[in-house]
């Protein structure tokens, strides 16, 4: 009999491919939604109207790239295949606003900043949220659990932008503890000197804090509900009658089982968290993908936006796949029949 573990992996990889396929098709279809005859011209017209002065060489290069990208000749199907060809090679042509640098190099530079911020905050908020939620769910009568619940209930519905704004107002205007934005003090060159790293941490602190606080609210509430269900399960009641030590029951029985659906939730929420990170970067003009996207919008840099959109779809799909592949390690029912 085939091992269910392999079936699970194949299914998850297939799902990841489907996500990338649908994402790419959506980004291919969107420009064609515009009823006008030639999407390239409309794109360039819109870009020029939005952006500042652009030298003619950049406009011609843009037209060449977009023509190639869209390849207006041939049937939509041929365009579609050519579109896949250039996309898979990551060739979105040069960025319109900061001409001749290709879009991909811009993305690669700001990617390291977003990745740093996003990975750290997502994992931290997931772990803290899950642990705190688990404890609050298990000791639900204790006063500290009640306070925590009310506090997170208040935080959870606040969208990323509003929380980022609040943090900015509180911690850099009202009490000026942190800088107002940017990733490191001006004039410092990115080296691994302690001074540079210290400055990066100080600058990244507020965006990270705001992302974590919003994240924790969500994970806390989900975990608290999951735990309040798991406590009533037969194996927990039985473990209690076995007088197994309360710590073991809490961690090995309650949190261990309640964290499984929480992990699937993380894979599904990755898209939302990523969008949240983008907007938080804009508030703190933290030089990640979000800020790059924002400048792209201001300057009407069409191919940059296209590149970032495609790149974020692939990144999120792969991220969700990784989390899904972690799941069987924690759930033996998937590993063995």
């Amino acid at each position: 009999m085939k091992n269910p573990f392999i079936i699970y992996i194949i299914q998850r990889i297939l799902q990841c491919i489907v996500v990338i396929f649908i994402g790419t098709t959506v980004t291919f279809v969107i420009p064609r939604l515009v009823p006008s005859t030639n999407p390239v011209e409309t794109a360039i017209a819109r870009a020029q109207m939005m952006g500042q002065y652009t030298d003619p060489k950049a406009v011609d290069e843009m037209r060449r790239v977009l023509k190639k990208l869209y390849g207006l000749e041939g049937t939509t199907f041929q365009q579609y295949i050519r579109y896949w060809g250039s996309v898979l090679r990551g060739d979105f042509g040069p960025s319109f606003s900061s001409f001749p640098t290709p879009v991909m190099t811009l993305i690669r530079v700001s990617l390291s900043w977003t990745a740093g911020l996003l990975l750290l905050t997502t994992i931290l908020s997931w772990i803290i949220g899950t642990l705190l939620g688990g404890l609050a769910g298990y000791f639900s009568e204790k006063p500290w659990a009640r306070i925590l619940e009310i506090f997170t209930n208040a935080i959870r519905p606040i969208p990323y932008y509003i929380m980022a704004l609040l943090m900015l107002i509180l911690f850099s205007y009202v009490l000026p503890l942190f800088p107002r934005g940017g990733a490191f003090a001006i004039g410092l060159t990115p080296t691994f000197s302690w001074q540079f790293i210290r400055s990066v941490i100080i600058h990244a602190f507020l965006p990270a804090l705001s992302l974590i606080v919003v994240g924790i609210g969500g994970w806390f509430q989900n975990m608290r509900v999951l735990v309040s269900n798991v406590i009533r399960e037969d194996y927990v009641v039985y473990a209690e009658t076995l007088n197994i030590s309360p710590q073991d029951i809490l961690y090995k029985y309650v949190i261990r089982n309640a964290a499984l659906p929480q992990l699937t939730g993380l894979a599904l929420q990755l898209g939302m968290i990523f969008s949240g990170a983008l907007i938080t970067e804009v508030v703190f003009n933290y030089p990640g993908l979000g800020f790059l996207l924002y400048t792209g919008i201001l300057r009407g840099d069409y191919s940059l936006i296209m590149g970032i959109t495609f790149f974020s779809i692939v990144a999120i799909a792969v991220g969700a796949l990784i989390i899904d592949l972690l799941y069987p390690l924690f759930d033996p029912r998937v590993r063995y029949t």
């Binding site: 209690e240 009658t241 076995l242 007088n243 073991d248 090995k252 089982n257 759930d331 033996p332």
Partner: protein, 334 residues
């Protein structure tokens, strides 16, 4: 020597949901004495309070269940555990697994799905005998499983990989590892097939003969109790209505409910008509006053509607709570 004394225990569920308060009188003034080296069967049908009684005896009392009155005392010669109401305060003694163990209904979800059977044993032993090195632990487990005829490979399996019968054996192994004085079993085989049920009950009987422990077995199936119990207590609507040796219960049942219970069991080879008890079990939230069986009892008398009969000895070792056989009611002579 009486190993477990249950003295006028009253345990109710106080439920408050969206404004309507209800108290479910699950166990209402129950008194029992259970001896050492005895298999005591508690027979009762759905919502008669037998599972609540087991919860009270095993000390697993969590809201909304609270003890209103009475006490449960274990005495193991050297040590005694007290559960019950002391001047208004609910006191629940620590019922440790070494002395009193518990076998739940063999449902699929009793063992932790993400842990191997070995780790469950390890947690149990760790929490009781703090210093347990790996080798000593492996040794004790292997020897214990062999004594129960269980294959050793079971230790490395996960609960979802075990069959129903095997899972119930693992639960019995967990319950008997410390050779406890009292084993409580709540419908241990009702979720199993007939053939597997027979082998599991034979295993319980062998363990009881070997260790001379007390086995308290709760079941809705009188035929099982006939095969395994020495004494049987019949429970109805939160009260014990009859207690006697197994032979007396089946050959000379005195309480009308017991008579009905035995007569309504179909037997292979006998197609004679079987009758059901008219009406349906009372709700424990507002039980009928007087004797709780009176709305369904064919021999009902006026006294039955006002007073609740006391469980008292009618013949040698045979107690009945019915006005047909005694005049005493729970609140004094009528």
């Amino acid at each position: 020597m009486t190993v477990l004394q249950i003295d006028k225990i009253k345990a109710y569920y106080k439920i408050n949901a969206y404004g309507n308060q209800r108290t479910v009188k699950a166990v209402d003034n129950v008194s029992l004495e259970i001896e050492e080296d005895e298999t005591f069967g508690i027979a009762g049908e759905s919502s008669c309070g037998k599972s609540t009684l087991i919860k009270v005896i095993s000390g697993t009392i969590k809201p909304p269940l609270t003890i209103i009155e009475g006490k449960v005392i274990y005495n193991f010669g050297d040590e005694s555990i007290y559960i019950g109401k002391v001047n208004g305060q609910e006191e629940i003694g620590k019922v440790t697994w070494e002395k009193v163990s518990y076998i739940p209904q063999s449902s699929m979800s009793v063992l932790n799905p993400v842990m191997k059977v070995r780790d469950i044993f390890y947690d149990l032993l760790k929490s009781h005998k703090k210093t347990m090195e790996k080798e000593v632990f492996n040794e004790t487990i292997k020897e214990h499983l062999n004594s129960l005829g269980l294959p050793i490979e079971v230790l490395d399996l996960y609960p979802h990989q075990l069959s129903g019968g095997m899972r119930q054996r693992v639960i019995i192994a967990l319950a008997t590892i410390f050779r406890p004085k009292v084993i409580l079993a709540d419908e241990p085989t009702s979720a199993l097939d007939v053939v597997v049920q027979q082998s599991v009950l034979q295993l319980l009987r062998e363990i009881q003969n070997e260790n001379k422990n007390t086995l308290i077995l709760v079941s809705h199936d009188m035929s099982i109790l006939a095969n395994i119990a020495n004494r049987i207590g019949i429970m109805y609507a939160g009260k014990i209505v009859e207690v006697a040796k197994v032979k007396d219960i089946f050959e000379n049942p005195m309480h009308p409910y017991t008579k009905f219970l035995i007569n309504s069991i179909p037997r292979i080879g006998d197609k004679s008509d079987r009758l059901s008890i008219p009406g349906f079990p009372p709700s424990l939230a507002d039980p009928p006053n007087g004797c709780r069986f009176h709305p369904r009892c064919p021999y009902v008398m006026d006294i039955c509607k006002e007073k609740s009969p006391l469980l008292c000895e009618v013949a040698e070792g045979h107690n009945v709570a019915c006005f047909l056989t005694s005049e005493e009611s729970e609140d004094g002579k009528y």
